[in-house]
């Protein structure tokens, strides 16, 4: 049984049909990259998994249980965490309060010490307001906030977007260490190189259709797919 099993979901924003019979699966300890051009439907896919968007048809099974149609808070309590592209750090709360908020409803939360060990930068900034963080710090906090809940699956939406190369390198390293320790991820990224460095398997999405599945090595060698769907 896969950790996540998505069967033929169709998702809409209002009247516009975004995802077409999209299927995918994620096994435990995998890092799955979702690649594709802008507007291909990657973010909508993540939102459909998290319950932010409700698929009109199809099924999403998480840890053996159907979760489509459930609310985000119910899905979060079952162990899925979305780190949204906009990061959504609560500016009025401090770094520590943002983490505390995330841990409130997690029965098996990480200790703050363990989070601060993983992200030393956040330990230094623990009393800073969320609105005073740099983009890189915000992204670290967004990931830390998901991680503290000790989720079975973390969905990362464009985690490296708009960040300086040095910070991207740091984040890739941290995510790589977490993955090596057994954390399962789904990563949506425009930065194909960074994404493929992390991923163990990848899907390519185009116009709301799942058009390719393979390992990073297979994809790198598939010039046709790289060219046609990723513009690389």
């Amino acid at each position: 049984m896969s950790l996540l099993d998505v069967e033929g979901i169709n998702s809409f924003y209002g009247d516009s049909h975004i995802l077409f019979d999209l299927s995918m699966r994620v096994e435990r300890n995998e890092v799955v990259a979702l690649l594709g051009r802008n507007g291909a439907g990657k973010t909508t896919t993540l939102n459909s998994l998290m319950g932010v968007v409700r698929p009109r048809s199809g099924t999403v099974s998480f840890n053996g249980e159907p979760v489509h149609g459930r609310q985000p808070f119910e899905i979060a309590r079952r162990g899925m965490q979305l780190v949204p592209e906009e990061r959504r750090i609560i500016g009025a709360l401090t770094v520590h309060e943002n983490l505390k908020l995330a841990a409130l409803s997690a029965p098996d939360a990480w200790s703050f010490e363990r989070i601060y060990e993983t992200f030393p930068r956040l330990a230094e900034r623990r009393r800073s307001g969320g609105k005073d963080l740099s983009g890189g710090e915000q992204q670290m906090l967004a990931i830390a906030r998901a991680l503290i809940r000790n989720p079975k699956l973390i969905l990362l939406d464009e985690p490296f977007e708009g960040l300086a190369p040095l910070i991207v390198r740091d984040l890739v390293r941290i995510c790589g260490e977490l993955a090596a320790a057994g954390q399962t991820f789904v990563v949506v990224e425009q930065n194909v190189v960074a994404a493929l460095r992390l991923a163990t398997r990848c899907y390519v999405i185009n116009n709301g259709h799942n058009v390719y599945e393979g390992t990073p090595d297979e994809l790198r060698q598939n010039k046709d797919v790289m060219n046609r769907y990723l513009g690389v």
Binding site: P72, A76, R88, G91, A92, E97
Partner: protein
């Protein structure tokens, strides 16, 4: 020209009015910030608190019981209103919410008029609150002084709830971004219910303790509603410190203008509100770009 002692007296009156307005506005601003609902029934809830307090005081002569019953009754009423009505309007446009809460306030006011008639009632001042107190620069009714202390203590308690508890953490986060609060595993809907109940309770509680000072009528909530909207605009939507500072500012404006000409006190209030909207549209403590 007013002399110094009159000025000091009015300054003090303004503070008394201001802290009460702050308390009422706290409920309004937290409901607005968290639920996104402009609650036009807030004044009616204030009035219901006053009537429940008045009735219990008549029956038992216990002020403590009157306050407890008034606050609890409005808390329960608030929860019922949120579950039964407001909940159905979260996805609807603001004008629908305004029409609904406005209609609700009419129903509440007319129901109270049906039960108690429109004749104004007087709630007795508790025994320990009767008499006067010499402040040095002025003689002040003892009860009003005690009310001020009660209100300040209540605001401190509210502060502690908002900034030192689990619920407060969720509410402060929810004021800024409900969606992420949900994605972090927290049931925002349930928080909404609690917030509306507590916000309503703040209004009802203020209604009871204000009742011995003013006359209790079915329409007593109207002025309060309008003034607390001004307070929320001045302080910034959803801001607790904003509601407190805005309340004191509004109280002082009303009180100090009354010294020259009471007819202009409301006009001055709107003038200052307009000034804030021009110079700092998000309010003194509000965040830019909030809807």
């Amino acid at each position: 020209m007013p002399n110094l002692s009159l000025f000091l007296a009015q300054l003090f009156n303004g503070l008394a009015l201001g802290t009460l307005l702050a308390l009422i506005s706290t409920g309004l601003t937290i409901i607005l910030g968290t639920l996104g609902v402009l609650n036009f029934a807030h004044g009616a809830l204030f009035m219901v608190g006053a009537y429940v307090g008045y009735t219990v005081m008549q029956a038992t002569h216990s002020f403590v019981l009157a306050v407890a019953c008034g606050a609890l009754f409005v808390l329960v009423l608030g929860v019922v209103i949120e579950r039964g009505l407001i909940r159905l309007y979260y996805e609807r446009p603001p004008e629908d919410q305004i029409l609904m809460t406005f209609g609700l306030s009419i129903v509440i006011v007319e129901t109270v008029r049906l039960i108690f008639t429109g004749i104004s009632q007087r709630m007795a001042v508790p025994d320990w609150g009767s008499g006067i107190f010499n402040l040095g620069f002025m003689i002040y009714p003892k009860y009003r002084l005690i009310v001020m202390i009660i209100v300040v203590v209540t605001l401190l308690v509210l502060y502690l709830v908002l900034y030192r508890t689990r619920l407060g953490l969720v509410v402060r986060a929810g004021i800024e971004d409900q969606r992420i609060v949900g994605m972090l595993g927290l049931n925002v809907q349930r928080t909404f219910m609690v917030v509306f109940g507590l916000g309503a309770m703040a209004a009802g509680y203020a209604g009871v303790i204000d009742a011995p000072i003013v006359s209790v009528t079915p329409d007593m909530g109207q002025t309060v509603l309008v003034e607390s909207f001004v307070v929320v605009v001045i302080g910034g939507l959803g801001s607790f410190p904003g509601a407190i500072l805005g309340g004191v500012i509004a109280g002082e404006i009303i009180s100090l203008t009354s010294m020259f000409n009471p007819a202009y006190s409301q006009v001055m209030l709107y003038f200052v509100m307009a000034l804030v909207l021009v110079l700092r549209p998000q309010g003194l403590f509000g965040q830019e770009g909030r809807e």
